[in-house]
């Protein structure tokens, strides 16, 4: 008997909520807290339906007190719970980062492993819709630079569900960054390619493994979240010119899958890193350095397409001009060819 497998396309928002719900059903220790994640279902939809199903004890709206509830997540985790906590916009990390980077990320180490801190901190990233300088940042490197927290960031709904499931089951703090423009909320604009088939059953996408999302032989384009989609678009543009681009989705920033990036660059000999986070001291520098310090032979100097080192401007012409996009990646490739 053959069964037609039906495509089940979900947005990242729904995939996240589904993963959380499935874990909450089987694990009493899992609960969710944050601002407007209860009846409202999260400003970005990723807790939709949870309050109805699990009630206000396990799906708790908080006051606007990020320091207290991030700290509380750590205390609850140390006491045997598995909190999922939302920082509504990653831009708000500054009001509570001590509780994250100095507490959540370090208590395991300070206790020699005797205290475990299985917290998932989910937070929205990214711009492109004119939300200005305090609501549009990515801050990938800000979290990834500091030890003790894993950092994941999906580019599509399949990975979102699997990474969320893996994050909840992980015994360490995991920062789960979701990009607003990939979230599948119409009011934020929607990257259609992020809405993909998601199996109904529970599964994990391993934390720390990158993925080759398009194979190619002439250049490696490395990205994360929005950068992956820009990379795929650029690859299609390059293909029209007969250039074969490989696109690597990092998926995790910590651990960083340097091996997969290096393997790809060994094959292609060229590297472009795309990052919507700020240019300097960020993901793009780290990935490029990780390749060159290994002495991987290169056909051209590696290039980066990242957000300039400026606060994110509100006005559309400025913001759109500053954001990474496929054309900039293609231009970076052209620079490589010119200089080779």
């Amino acid at each position: 008997m053959t069964v037609a497998t039906k495509e089940r396309k979900l947005t990242i928002a729904r995939a996240m909520a589904e993963a959380i719900a499935q874990e909450m059903r089987v694990d009493e220790r899992v609960f969710v807290m944050g601002e407007d994640i209860g009846p409202l279902g999260g400003v970005f939809g990723n807790t939709r339906g949870l309050h109805e199903e699990f009630g206000s004890e396990r799906v708790r709206d908080t006051p606007i007190s990020e320091t207290a509830f991030m700290g509380a997540a750590v205390g609850a985790a140390a006491d045997g719970m598995r909190p999922i906590v939302e920082l509504m916009f990653v831009d708000f990390f500054g009001v509570c980062f001590d509780a994250i980077y100095n507490l959540m990320a370090k208590n395991t180490y300070f206790s020699g492993g005797e205290v475990q801190v299985p917290v998932v901190l989910m937070t929205s990233t990214g711009g492109g819709y004119s939300d200005a300088g305090q609501h549009s940042q990515c801050l990938h490197a800000t979290f990834a630079h500091l030890p003790g927290m894993k950092v994941v960031a999906p580019s599509n709904a399949y990975d979102a569900k699997g990474l969320m499931t893996a994050a909840i089951r992980d015994n360490n703090p995991v920062i789960f960054m979701f990009h607003k423009a990939l979230q599948g909320m119409g009011w934020l604009g929607t990257e259609k390619d992020a809405i993909v088939h998601v199996p109904e059953e529970s599964y994990e996408v391993p934390i720390g493994k990158a993925a080759v999302v398009r194979e190619g032989s002439d250049v490696t384009i490395v990205g994360i979240t929005s950068g992956v989609h820009h990379g795929l678009k650029a690859a299609r543009q390059l293909a029209e010119r007969g250039i074969s681009a490989e696109v690597v989705d990092l998926r995790s920033l910590v651990p960083l899958d340097r091996a997969m990036v290096i393997e790809s660059v060994r094959k292609t000999g060229r590297l472009i890193v795309v990052d919507e986070d700020y240019h300097s001291y960020g993901v793009s520098g780290e990935v490029i350095c990780s390749v060159v310090e290994q002495g991987v032979p290169l056909k051209a100097a590696p290039q980066r397409v990242a957000y300039p080192d400026i606060p994110i401007p509100f006005t559309r012409p400025m913001e759109q001009w500053a954001l990474p996009n496929a054309d900039k990646i293609v231009a970076a490739f052209e620079t490589m060819e010119k200089n080779a």
């Binding site: 407007d36 009846p39 409202l40 606007i64 004119s130 939300d131 200005a132 119409g186 400025m318 759109q320």
Partner: protein, 328 residues
């Protein structure tokens, strides 16, 4: 200290200006956003937090301030900006993201800065409180006149910055007034679900400073209470905390379905709209005529229409200007 007739009329006019300004913004915001609502589209992209209903808080307080005094406001800044005297043309242009905007389009609706009248605001909850304390400190150190007012929402009163700023202002006895606009909601979360006590003015006792509560969104009562607090600050007697019961007539931001509101809440709020109430008061107590009212309304509309037109007509900045003004 009761408002004079002139002061009442000033407040009334600012309320109208703010309300009509937001009505215009509201309409224009929706341009390009249908059939599908996408924040990124239209002449005014991004988030839009309207303040309609909350005008009394702004006017009752700012009636006591001059251009030299300092206001730090929130993500919901229009009414406060207007009452503080922010340049309306450049503010409209900023909201449109135009080159003629207050920052040339870099800031937008949540980042309205007008140095000329010492106004600033911010998208981070309670972020303006520290700067208000610092501005007050600056005046003290410079032996210069001036009071700083930090506006915040009732949700912000649970943020750490609230506590630290009140304590610091009190320890240093600075000329600063903290004004909480309690509109009962922080996005979808009711005050009772976020705040351990009913009224935040009670928290003043934790800093040994006066706390006042103003019920019913009443601009005249706000005027009185704020006047007292600001005079106290000017006299060098230190900070005050005020909580005002106010109403948010709109959603948290545009696009908010407001499903969290109990049935009938919105209707009840509209029935208590402070602007018609104020008009009634003026008619009853201040010999205000329909003709005068129409003239005032027409004047405010003309001013706002001009600002909106200025914004519409202005050019966008060149994209590369994004690189400027990071450092000066």
């Amino acid at each position: 200290m009761k408002p004079s007739r002139d002061q009442k009329l000033w407040m009334y006019e600012q309320m109208h200006t703010s309300r009509y300004f937001e009505e215009c913004i509201e309409k224009i915001y929706m341009e390009g956003k249908s059939p599908a609502f996408n924040m990124a589209n239209g002449p005014i992209p991004g988030e839009m937090h309207l303040s309609n209903g909350q005008e009394p808080c702004a006017v009752g307080v700012c009636a006591h301030l001059n251009a030299d005094d300092i206001v730090t406001a929130t993500h919901r800044p229009h009414h406060e900006a207007i009452a503080k005297g922010v340049d309306l043309d450049r503010m409209a242009a900023e909201i449109f993201g135009k080159k003629t905007g207050l920052s040339g389009g870099r800031g937008g609706h949540m980042h309205i800065f007008d140095a000329r009248v010492n106004f600033s605001c911010s998208g981070i909850i309670a972020q303006g409180m520290g700067p208000a304390v610092g501005a007050a400190l600056s005046r003290k150190l410079q032996h210069k006149e001036g009071v700083a007012v930090a506006f915040l929402g009732e949700g912000a009163a649970n943020q750490g910055a609230f506590h630290e700023s009140l304590n610091l202002a009190a320890v240093w006895k600075l000329p600063v007034v903290f004004v909480i606009e309690d509109n009962a909601w922080g996005i979808s979360v009711a005050k009772s679900a976020s705040t351990a006590i009913e009224r935040n003015d009670k928290r003043a006792a934790a800093y040994g400073i006066p706390g006042h509560y103003v019920p019913d969104n009443d601009p005249l009562a706000i005027f009185e209470v704020a006047g007292e607090a600001i005079s106290r600050a000017r006299r060098g007697e230190g900070p005050t905390l005020i909580e005002i019961e106010t109403y948010r007539l709109a959603g948290h931001f545009m696009g908010d379905a407001e499903g969290y509101r109990p049935e009938g809440e919105k209707e009840a709020l509209f029935a208590r709209d402070p602007i018609p109430k104020m008009r009634r008061h003026l008619i009853d107590e201040e010999e205000w005529s329909d003709a005068q009212d129409q003239e005032l309304v027409a004047r405010t509309h003309a001013r706002v229409d001009k600002a909106i037109q200025f914004a519409r007509d202005s050019e966008y900045p060149a994209p590369e200007e994004a690189l400027e003004k990071v450092f000066v």
